[in-house]
Amino acid sequence: MGRRLSLCENSTRFATDSRREFLGRLGGGFGTLALASLLAQETNADDGAVHASQRNGLHFPPRAKRVVQLFMAGAASHLDLFDFKPELVRRHGEPADFGEHVEAFQDGLGPWKKPVWEFQPYGECGKLLSEVVADLGPCVDDIAFIHNMVGKSGVHSTATLLQATGFSLPGFPGMGCWISYGLGTENENLPTFVVLPDHRGFPSNGVKNWDAAFLPSEHSGTMVFPGRPNPISDLHPHPAGRFVTRDSDAAAHRMLAELNRQHAAVHPLDSRLESRIKTYELAARMQLAAPEALDITGEPQYILDMYGIQPEGTEWPTEINAAEERDCFGRKCLVARRLLERGVRFVQVWSGNDNSFPRRNWDSHEDLEQDHGPLALGMSRGAAALIRDLKQRGLLEDTIVFWTTEFGRMPSTQGGKGRDHNPFVFTNWLCGGGVKGGISYGPSDEWGYKPLDRNHFTQVYDVHATILRLLGIDHTQLTFRHNGIDRRLTDVHGHLIPELLS
């Protein structure tokens, strides 16, 4: 793609070229595909013909425009939430016999362990859900569960990276970065890819899960902390700048525009200069748009209740508890809806921080009931509210809700009340945006230990390929050359899962 202005007498073409370059460079993320689409539209306007408009410049007609990913850090148990195994109920307490040597992350697998909670059927599809995620019951006819996800490692860091970036090593762009790079933004006044980390701390690998790595930095996930004075880093002047006032700031913007324009005028053929001028205009608009998008105080009470949000300043007990988990996850889900509504392309919501004690994540080695209970009650309330809220606003049809975690948990105990890591099988689910609802794809085996069909299973590449397809992108075609390799989200893997498409 031409990234340089070409000198041409034809003023119309000149304008197109400079816009091409301008869009190509502009932050807020006009990626290649979006750029192609915009330019196609412009060209159409010029010559009156119609091309590629059915696909909006994409590889396929898109079914979805945006994605919200709910990531359960620490590894949520498929067995106790979504993947019911009656065999475990029958054999509960019996010595676990996997029929082969099992290499567990920690040592000492105990007896079979039944799900901690009762399961009941929901929806027309009759999907069985655990009572701690019963809030998702009304949504199951819109959800496609994948029960034969297989990971590559039982180590949190590499497994989290794999699910978040498609690679086990740090240094690869997050899924949202690729989508930002590919599709660009629908709202220049907000970041393209927003991350809502658990306010109690980052997951394993921290920002490496959503960092742009080798992609241009504007495709990095922008962290948003709705409670903090600066919900986005440097959105407002740091307290060290008490001298900055509303007036001095506005006047500075005017002066910068003027001086930078004068500078650009005597330094022709360098569109970076013009791009920077534009970024200041966008920055000023983001300062207004972001706080508005993050402010939930204007939401009606029934919405706040739906998400399980308690009044500001509620005091919480020190022990982990469901009401607090509902409140904290619900707030993030509501903010996610507001961002999606305003054109943010990809929102990532995290539940759970990196390993810590007492646990505020899903890594329930010691006591599954104690951690998973409140976390699941909180997660399911927020997730269900988000799905229903998007649906009632007509947004679910082109928004993908994607629930994931780094791996599953073992069908046996570790000797006590917890479960060890299970990278051999776990669950993901998708909803909305062209996803076929009410289905459970790819069963796990009778124990939920490995896929039922060990030769046919689902990997993160397949899920990523399918989501990109729903967004209109061929996952093999969204590439970026880095250190000699055309990198892609799906590495050299990935198969579309046609069964998941409606």
Binding site: R4, E218, D234, S248, A252, Y280
Partner: protein
């Protein structure tokens, strides 16, 4: 809509064609089938890889079948395993493993071929596909090209020197082929700003600018170059370029991203090595095998931090033993990182691509990759102890040897003999001397580790390298043959064989690799470094892909110049400073970046070469994150130039005992300890410093050969609102006022000039400090008005956001 209908028509046509494939002669059919095998199967089912035990190279091989028995049942496609595997269900088939299923046509041909006898054409032997092209430029041996003759015309405004600079000769020669010329030379002010940033990463002060601008000496520029190259600021600036490539950081990364408190001695080594202008060979040798090749030197140990510079998976090493699969994976990937760092950094070869299969594009075999892994097979990443001086090292070693000697003597003697008492006295004395030695230092390095538990290293087991096997598809559960250490066979005229004796030490392996890397015939090494240096001066290398000189990389814009520079550098002392001097004294480097868009020459040049690969003008460069931060500190009068030592922290660590959270938002931006040059930052892998990250600093999780450069609203917000910028704006304002007051005191006559007032003077001075240019009267008037209304601190904040500050002409 027309287009859409046409698409459908095409689709129908292709479906119609697939319904009735044209009949084929049997031999043709056999050839067609082998073509399908070649295209879709041979990369795994060949004589070497034999995936699933099956090779498809010949008819015999096919009939021999694989691990699951016969692949085909001649005459009965329905009973043939091959047909089961290639027939898709729901759009997916078991084979081919990568890529989409075979087409309906292809499957039909194979089915018919099996039914009719599966005759393999006798003359057909299939070979695994290869895209390797042996004509790639970088595979050609390195020869010193002649410098092109240069006629008198030269540049538009030739300075009249009689002998052309060799770099200019090559560049002009190329330009002339395109009927272009170089631009006029930049004026001294532009040139000084460019050179200061380029060589030191800091701006010139207004006084330095004045001095240079008014220097009547015709060699004033050369003197400035020498002065900047001998400044310690040079090493600090250029160390950053190398640390980007080596992906150095002060924490492990991954899960529970723990700090590495002893990583910094390696960073200091790089700064020192560059300031001392070590020869490139020595720089390489020390970083790969300094302990072996330069024993008893501090540099020889500290340089080994290079091998450990990348990330480390603590959980994979400490919570998992080497016997578990995930533990094996962690150690395999750890060695992979060492191999990539050691080989790609120095040779620009994407050697890591041969981990799972032979390199798809370059002549690097999978076996060679594992041979390189075996070079590092004894190492782990851990703190290594060493002494501050070679003398202490020798003393410590001798004392330890004496103690061992006397202790063994003692065991041979009766407990109460006189001799024992004597020996005990001696031993006590040795131990006392040992205790009195200056304490040993630590550097986080690639080293034989003496640990315990899961992370034991090989130290406790005699320090012998682990056995390295070729891993089929890079899978630790599929080891194949044992490999011995060695290098790559792709370098013309240089043997990859190490020729080590059977009883060689692990260090001998690294020394052999270092010698291979620094061999004069290793063309990759010499081309790689001169290209990296060129890139750092011009923003883009002669080869645009500094970490990939393979087939997938780009070709050099000036191949002869690249080779000439590589030879000149290799044979002329391997001095980076000499190379810098050579480059920056060329007219090519000294051209103006300013162009007049209305000029014919510029229009023609721009039409042919908008990217300026031919170098017909100077490149305007955007300041990198470190230069921005360091300049803001320097201009505000707050830059602390203390060199070396532990990195300064710009965060508060929460929960350090478990999973540290690095809270940058809690850092006190006024803390003077954090006002040092950016090279001394404590860099955290999992949580990048937000200010630097917004400005595209390097991500230490990966080798960064060239930084991204972009503009975004978040970057604008960072430069407007970040605490550092705001705190420094206020300090800068204070400095301006203080300096103005002292100037007024010193020279009352000047302070009272009729055409200026105090504020205008300070505004003019501030503008000059930030941009190195004197503001016009109009600009001063505008800025003065702003400063009068909103104060000097706000003015300084504004100036730090000017394009003219952030770009260097």
């Amino acid at each position: 809509m027309i287009t859409r209908r046409r698409c459908w028509q095409l689709l129908f046509m292709s479906i119609a064609m697939s319904v009735a494939p044209p009949a084929m002669a049997r031999d043709d059919e056999g050839r067609e089938v082998t073509r399908i095998f070649q295209q879709h199967c041979l990369s795994c089912h060949n004589d070497r890889d034999r995936a699933g035990g099956l090779s498809l190279t010949t008819g015999d091989a096919l009939r021999a079948g694989g691990d699951s028995g016969d692949a085909i049942e001649v005459g009965d496609p329905g009973a043939s395993l091959l047909m089961d595997l290639i027939t898709p269900e729901n759009g997916r088939a078991d084979m081919p493993k990568e890529g989409p299923p075979l087409s309906r046509d292809q499957i039909a041909v194979i089915r018919r071929w099996i039914r009719t006898g599966a005759e393999w054409p006798e003359d057909v032997v299939l070979h695994p596909p290869t895209n390797v092209d042996l004509n790639v430029w970088s595979l050609q041996p390195l020869h010193r090209p002649a410098v092109p003759g240069v006629s008198a015309e030269k540049s538009e405004q030739s300075q009249g020197s009689t002998t052309a600079h060799p770099i200019d000769a090559f560049v002009l020669d190329k330009l002339r082929q395109h009927e272009l010329t170089i631009s006029q030379l930049a004026n001294r002010r532009m040139l000084a700003r460019r050179l200061f940033y380029d060589l030191t990463g800091l701006p010139p002060t207004p006084e330095e600018l004045d001095e240079f601008e008014s220097d009547p000496d015709p060699s004033a520029y050369e003197r400035l170059v020498d002065r900047l190259l001998s400044s310690p600021r040079y090493g600090e600036r250029w160390a950053r370029h190398w640390l980007d490539v080596a992906h150095y950081a002060d924490s492990h990364g991954f899960d529970k991203d723990q700090p590495r408190p002893h990583a910094w001695p390696y960073r200091d080594y790089v700064v020192r090595a560059l300031n001392e202008d070590k020869s490139w060979s020595r720089f390489i040798e020390e970083q790969i095998a300094g302990d072996v090749l330069y024993p008893d030197t501090v540099d020889g140990i500290e340089a080994l931090g290079f091998l450990a510079a990348g990330p480390w998976d603590l959980i994979g090493h400490v919570e998992l033993p080497e016997s578990k699969i995930d533990g094996k994976v962690a150690r395999h990937l750890d060695r992979d990182n060492m191999v990539r760092n050691a080989v790609q950094s120095f040779t620009s070869l994407t050697v890591g691509c041969a981990q799972c299969h032979n390199h798809k594009f370059d002549p690097i075999s999978q076996r060679e990759y594992y041979q390189l892994q075996s070079v590092f097979a004894a190492l782990d990443r851990a703190d290594k102890l060493y002494d501050a001086t070679p003398q202490t090292t020798v003393q410590r070693r001798e004392l330890l040897a004496r103690i061992t000697e006397f202790e063994s003597k003692r065991t041979a003697l009766a407990e109460d003999s006189l001799a024992v008492l004597e020996i005990d006295a001696k031993l006590a004395d040795f131990k006392k001397q040992l205790a009195e030695l200056p304490p040993a230092r630590r550097v986080y390095a690639g080293t034989v580790h003496y640990g315990s538990g899961n992370f034991s290293g090989v130290g406790p087991f005699g320090g012998n390298p682990r056995e390295i096997y070729l891993l089929h598809r890079g899978d630790v559960t599929q080891p194949r043959e044992l490999v011995i250490p060695g290098a790559l066979s792709m370098v013309a005229g240089l043997s990859p064989v190490f020729d080590l004796p059977a009883d060689h030490s692990e260090g001998d392996r690294r020394a052999a690799l270092a010698k291979w890397l620094t061999h004069p015939d290793n063309s990759f090494t010499w081309r790689s470094i001169v290209n990296r240096v060129w890139q750092s001066h011009f923003g883009i290398g002669l080869v645009e892909t500094p970490n990939d000189f393979g087939q997938m990389g780009s070709t050099p814009s000036h191949p002869e110049l690249l080779d000439w520079l590589a030879c000149e550098f290799r044979d002329g002392g391997q001095s980076l400073k000499t190379l810098h001097r050579l480059i920056v004294t060329s007219e090519t480097y000294r051209q103006t970046s300013f162009v007049n868009a209305n000029c014919d020459r510029v229009q023609r040049a721009h039409a042919i070469d908008a990217d300026n690969r031919l170098l017909w003008r100077g490149n305007r460069r955007k300041l990198d994150a470190e230069s921005i931060r360091d300049s803001v500190l320097a201009i505000s009068g707050k830059l602390d130039l203390t060199m070396g030592g532990p990195g300064f922290e710009e965060f508060v660590i929460e929960k350090p005992e478990h999973s540290p959270q690095y809270r940058y938002d809690l850092h006190d931006v006024q803390d003077p300890r954090s006002h040092r040059r950016s090279i001394y930052r404590f860099t955290v892998r999992s949580q990048l410093q937000p200010f630097m990250n917004a400005l595209d600093c390097a991500d230490p999780s990966q080798q960064v050969a060239r930084r991204n450069e972009g503009e975004s609203p978040l970057q604008a917000l960072t430069l407007l609102n970040n605490g550092l910028i705001l705190a420094m704006s206020e300090y800068f304002a204070e400095k301006l006022q203080m300096e103005h007051a002292s100037r007024a005191q010193d020279r009352p006559d000047q302070a009272a000039q009729p055409d200026g007032d105090e504020l205008s003077d300070m505004v003019a001075r501030a503008f000059l400090e930030v941009t190195s240019r004197r503001a016009t009267e109009n600009e001063i008037a505008l800025l003065r008005e702003y400063a009068a209304e909103h104060g000097l601190a706000n003015l300084c904040r504004l100036l730090f956001n000017l394009n003219e500050f952030l770009f260097v002409d």
